[in-house]
């Protein structure tokens, strides 16, 4: 399965890349890790006429803490996040999230930003971004830089709020303090497969009481789903396994998943019930 022809450019700066993209935004795609784009091109499901390869642009990868935020630059590879030495609840969430992404050879090339731009509702980074109300920075030649909140970024299946002439440059996440419990749990048929349903959580527990609750589910709607029902069940309550089970039940009731070959709506609700407690450390 060979892709359709395209023109290929490999700019050496972000400005150059944006200029290339601006020439013909609708027929141009950005090539970062390529682990999602290239299979689609091999199937000829995607047929961009031009590819802008951003892999040689300096300063587009890396992760750094800036005040109370953690900034991940777009071309940071999954593998780097899997091996992150950040001994914090966020670091733990990023490491576990990365370990769930495909397989080792996918992680050596796939990128954090690419994942967000691709917008698969069950993918780990989309869930984490939605969970933590990330700020996504995108840039275009015409309009410069703008920041989009996660809730406004993921619009529907494989569709983000990005304009065709924009490149995602970095994502900013809150640096969660040590009182947070974080986790991710997903259900897939085989090791490395896309999750059928995934659950992520970040819960701030102070003196055994939940001070902040964030729950995000994947595979239950067109975009990552923040379960407000689960969050409300958790907030202000005593942190116990039973509480988490109740939150999972509320989440399962709240979602309205569609059915497909991998599972019907009832099954996806069952997976929510099973996975949220596992994400938050219970079995």
């Amino acid at each position: 399965m060979k892709p359709a022809s395209f023109d290929y450019v490999r700019p050496h700066s972000l400005e150059e890349a944006l200029a290339e993209l601006a020439k013909d935004p609708d027929e141009t795609k950005v090539l970062a890790g390529g682990q999602s784009l290239i299979p689609m091109m091999n199937f000829r499901l995607a047929r961009p006429e031009r590819l802008v390869d951003i892999n040689r642009i300096p300063d587009l990868e890396g992760i750094e803490t800036v005040g109370d935020r953690v900034v991940i630059r777009t071309r940071t590879r999954h593998l780097v996040l899997q091996n992150l030495s950040m001994p914090t609840p966020l670091g733990s969430l990023l490491r576990h999230g990365a370990a769930n992404v495909g397989h080792l050879p996918i992680r050596t090339r796939g990128t954090f930003g690419g994942s967000l731009a691709h917008c698969d509702a069950a993918s780990e980074w989309c869930l984490v971004a939605s969970l933590l109300d990330a700020d996504v920075t995108v840039q275009s030649q015409a309009r410069g830089s703008r920041t989009i909140r996660a809730a406004d970024f993921f619009l529907s299946i494989f569709t983000t709020a990005m304009e065709p002439d924009e490149i995602l440059t970095e994502v900013s996440l809150p640096a969660l303090d040590d009182s947070y419990v974080t986790g991710i749990a997903e259900f897939a048929r085989r090791a490395g497969d896309f999750a059928i349903v995934a659950a992520t959580g970040a819960v701030k527990v102070v003196d055994d009481v939940v001070a902040d609750a964030r729950v995000c589910l994947g595979g239950v709607s067109e975009v990552p789903f923040r379960s407000r029902a689960a969050e409300q069940v958790l907030l202000g309550q005593t942190w116990t396994p039973q509480l988490v089970t109740a939150a999972a039940e509320a989440a399962a009731d709240e979602v309205d998943p569609s059915s497909d070959a991998h599972g019907d709506a009832d099954y996806r609700r069952d997976l929510v019930r099973a996975l949220l407690p596992r994400a938050l450390g219970e079995r």
Binding site: M1, A4, S5, R44, F187, R190, A261, H262, A274
Partner: protein, 797 residues
């Protein structure tokens, strides 16, 4: 003087001679032949509809397009059996005007590169009038159903095979039985999914007019015959070579229409042409298998003796009959072997192949036996529960243990170890300990289960067995070309003038290590080392006519023929030695590359005997042949390997996921020529069986479009999904295999699905959830568990 023992190569786990080249990246698969050649590439335009009539095909100028209009003089592929119930249909090389399944090739384009060929496909316009399709057995056999082929169906619509057996005493015994247990089992459509998809490369030699076809096939000679028949050319104008082949599992033992087109194009254009199948095409068109449903009733008496079996077996065979073994292969095998290793005497069965507008079937490792064994082993477990008899005891009670034993279909179980393998498996499994663990786990909400599967695997059968599938109903023979009865294997063994040995075989390995194991067999007869022996295979110019590798036959058949030929040659060498050194031929044994007289201790190197033969033939007293060559054919009626599989599983009740925590195999494949190779075959087969049980499913939507066309949808397991497999070997030999080896290639796939199904059923028995249809996906299991739990809640309230 020391008398050395002949080295015993048989029985050793010799590292394979095939491996170093492959490990260095120097393997030569068909795509590699193409990559190193400048050739045209073919791509196919395929039907987007399950059923229809092609109205028009066109392409802009510059696109090299071939359609049915270009097939003058090219015949259809016909594969038939001589049976009154067999309805024969034809498979055109390119479909048109009628198309019968999504993915069926309608036209071909040629271009300089694969990418350019795909660009050309994009430019071809096809107009097809859609017609109603039939997508399942019920639909296809219903009154007034659309017919997949415009032929006479003597029975139900679209029914192309309708075999029956009804033993004389059945009615009485069945009616009088204490207890009848009923199960319905089935498997989803499977893809053999070899990691290398299909490919062919035709090289035309303008000097000789011959075409050399490199093709991913398990049966080069048969492919050559088939191509010659269809193209109307001399068989010798073709040379067919199977180079390194990346797995076959049966899906590469059928003549592919695309290969016919590649050869046709090569000859017409007098140039080289290649076709490299994509994974998507492989899912859509490279022979499906295993979509079968069986209704089975077992009549038991009060002490658990299985007295009679009644069965209705339905196989959805797709749109065409695969060449050479035909679409009867699944139902007829099921009919003949369903009763398996159980001593049941009365048998009534109806076994059907029904057409559908889907990809046609071909044998896939195990063929029908995985479902046959699923049926009988589920029957045993269900009966055990209903009769309150331990499932191991129930099997032990019913397994054949006196040999030979004729089963109701007429096949004969020769020497085997059914009870012994069950006993060994049960001991390895330590069922008592398991039951304790199972109970303790249930307290914690964890669901463990254990399942057994006992079975016989028919292997190494020759022409008589294949012939039995046909039931000639006229004395006058029908068309020669359509009816093919495979069977024998032939070997030409030659010692050259420097005592090097070549073994030319008709079998065609594709991962089984025959180059190594056959050398071991030959070395034991000739007293040489494997480094002195070269096995030559898979080239129609260089090997005797043979049937290839499939049906767990290669070691039995090619091994048997190799042994016979080697014995012949050994006798000749001993005679030559006696000419040289005096004494009688019987005084000599072949050892360490020479002939040693046991009486005198004198020996002569084989090198000298070879030179005597080739270069001093006038001096040989008995005017023997001036070459050292032996030819042998082996054509036994077949034997049976047997095994018992045990699976231990844990089912996650919340998600329906099944983890296999332990898998063990107690098997009897007779004498193991190369134990590592045997174990490898078992391990690989078991994993495919596990995949059948839990993961793999080809899914068509309600328009007949195949939905599972990538490795993200069709789910062969990774290492993570499968356990280590513990294997214990028993050894009984059979007079039907002179090497003492029984075939073993398919055993893993045959027994594993039932063991897993029984284990999951055992884990969920307390909920009343049973697994009879495969795959038992997490979705299906969780849905069943949820229903059972709410049922229980309702009952409790």
């Amino acid at each position: 003087m020391t008398i050395t023992q002949p080295p015993n190569w048989t029985g050793r786990s010799l590292p394979r001679v095939e491996d170093p080249a492959i490990l260095r990246g120097l393997g030569r698969y068909v795509a590699d032949v193409a990559a190193r050649d400048t050739c045209m590439y073919a791509k196919f335009i395929r039907s987007p509809y399950a059923s229809g009539r092609v109205v028009a095909i066109s392409a802009p100028p510059g696109v090299r397009l071939y359609t049915t209009a270009d097939l003058d003089g090219v015949g259809d592929i016909v594969a038939a059996l001589e049976r009154p119930d067999f309805v024969s249909t034809a498979q055109p090389i390119l479909a048109g005007p009628v198309v019968r399944f999504v993915g069926e090739p309608i036209a071909m384009v040629l271009a300089e590169t694969e990418a350019a060929a795909e660009d050309a496909v994009d430019q071809v316009q096809v107009e097809i009038e859609q017609l109603p399709a039939v997508l399942g057995v019920e639909q296809a056999t219903a009154e007034g159903a659309p017919l997949v082929h415009d032929v006479e169906f003597p029975g139900d619509a679209n029914t192309v095979v309708d075999g029956r057996i009804h033993t004389a005493g059945f009615d009485e015994v069945f009616a009088g039985a204490e207890h009848v247990v009923t199960v319905q089992v089935g498997s989803a459509r499977q893809s053999a999914m070899p990691l290398e998809a299909r490919a062919s490369h035709a090289a035309y030699d303008p000097g000789t007019g011959r075409t050399t076809l490199h093709v991913t096939t398990q049966m080069p000679h048969v492919v050559r015959t088939g191509l010659a028949d269809v193209l109307g050319i001399r068989e010798d104008d073709l040379r067919v070579i199977a180079p390194d082949v990346g797995g076959g599992f049966g899906a590469k033992m059928a003549l592919a229409r695309e290969d016919v087109m590649v050869v046709l194009a090569s000859r017409r254009l007098r140039t080289n042409v290649a076709w490299i199948e994509t994974r998507e095409e492989n899912f859509m068109g490279a022979w499906h298998s295993r979509e079968q449903v069986y209704d089975v009733e077992g009549a038991f008496d009060a002490d658990g003796t299985l007295l009679a079996v009644r069965a209705d077996l339905r196989c959805d065979v797709g749109a065409y009959s695969c060449y050479p073994v035909t679409y009867a292969v699944e139902p007829l095998m099921a009919m003949a072997e369903l009763t398996g290793p159980y001593a049941v005497r009365e048998y009534s069965v109806r076994s059907r192949a029904v057409l559908s507008n889907k990809c046609p079937i071909a044998p896939y490792r195990g063929v029908s036996r995985p479902v046959q064994v699923l049926a009988m082993e589920r029957l045993m477990d269900v009966a055990a529960r209903e009769l309150d008899i331990d499932p191991v005891e129930l099997r032990m009670h019913n397994l054949v243990h006196e040999f030979p034993h004729r089963i109701p279909s007429g096949l004969v179980l020769d020497n085997a170890s059914h009870r012994e393998t069950l006993a060994v498996a049960a001991e390895m499994a330590d069922v008592d300990d398991f039951r304790r663990r199972q109970l303790a786990a249930r307290e914690e909400g964890r669901l463990l289960g254990i399942g057994f599967s006992s079975f016989a695997e028919r292997t190494g059968y020759g022409t008589p067995a294949f012939a039995a599938r046909s039931v000639p109903f006229e004395l006058k023979k029908t068309t020669a070309a359509d009816v093919i009865t495979p069977g024998f294997e032939r070997v030409v063994l030659t010692m050259d003038s420097s005592a090097g040995v070549t073994v030319r075989i008709g079998a065609s390995p594709h991962g089984q290590g025959l180059r190594t194991s056959l050398a071991q067999v030959v070395c034991d007869q000739l007293g040489v080392a494997p480094a002195d022996v070269r096995v030559i295979h898979s080239d129609t110019d260089a090997t005797p006519y043979g049937w290839g590798s499939f049906a767990s036959r290669a070691m039995v058949m090619a091994g048997g023929a190799s042994m016979l030929a080697a014995k012949d040659l050994a006798a000749r060498l001993r005679t030559l030695a006696s000419h040289r050194l005096g004494g009688l031929p019987g005084d000599f044994e072949l050892v360490d590359g020479g002939a040693l007289n046991r009486e005198t201790g004198e020996s002569v190197p084989l090198f000298v005997l070879a030179r005597d033969t080739y270069h001093s033939s006038h001096l040989i007293p008995d005017k023997g042949e001036p070459v050292l060559e032996a030819v042998a054919t082996y054509d036994p009626s077949g034997t049976f390997a047997n095994a018992c599989h045990v699976a231990e599983v844990e089912v996650d009740p919340a998600t329906g996921a099944v983890a296999i925590t332990r898998f063990l195999v107690a098997e009897d494949a007779g004498r193991l020529v190369n134990p590592a190779i045997v174990d490898g075959q078992i391990q690989g087969g078991v994993v495919q069986g596990i995949a059948n049980a839990l993961y793999e499913e080809l899914i068509y939507d309600d328009r007949g479009v195949l939905v599972t066309t990538s490795l993200m949808d069709y789910l062969p397991p990774t290492l993570h999904e499968v356990p280590d497999i513990e294997i214990a070997h028993m050894k009984t030999t059979s007079p039907q295999s002179i090497t003492g080896a029984k075939g073993v290639g398919e055993g893993g796939t045959i027994g594993a699905p039932a063991a897993v199904a029984n284990a999951v059923s055992d884990a969920l028995a307390h909920l009343g959830v049973q697994v009879n249809h495969l795959p038992a996906t997490p979705h299906r299991l969780r849905t069943a568990i949820r229903a059972a739990q709410s049922h229980a809640q309702e009952a409790a309230s």
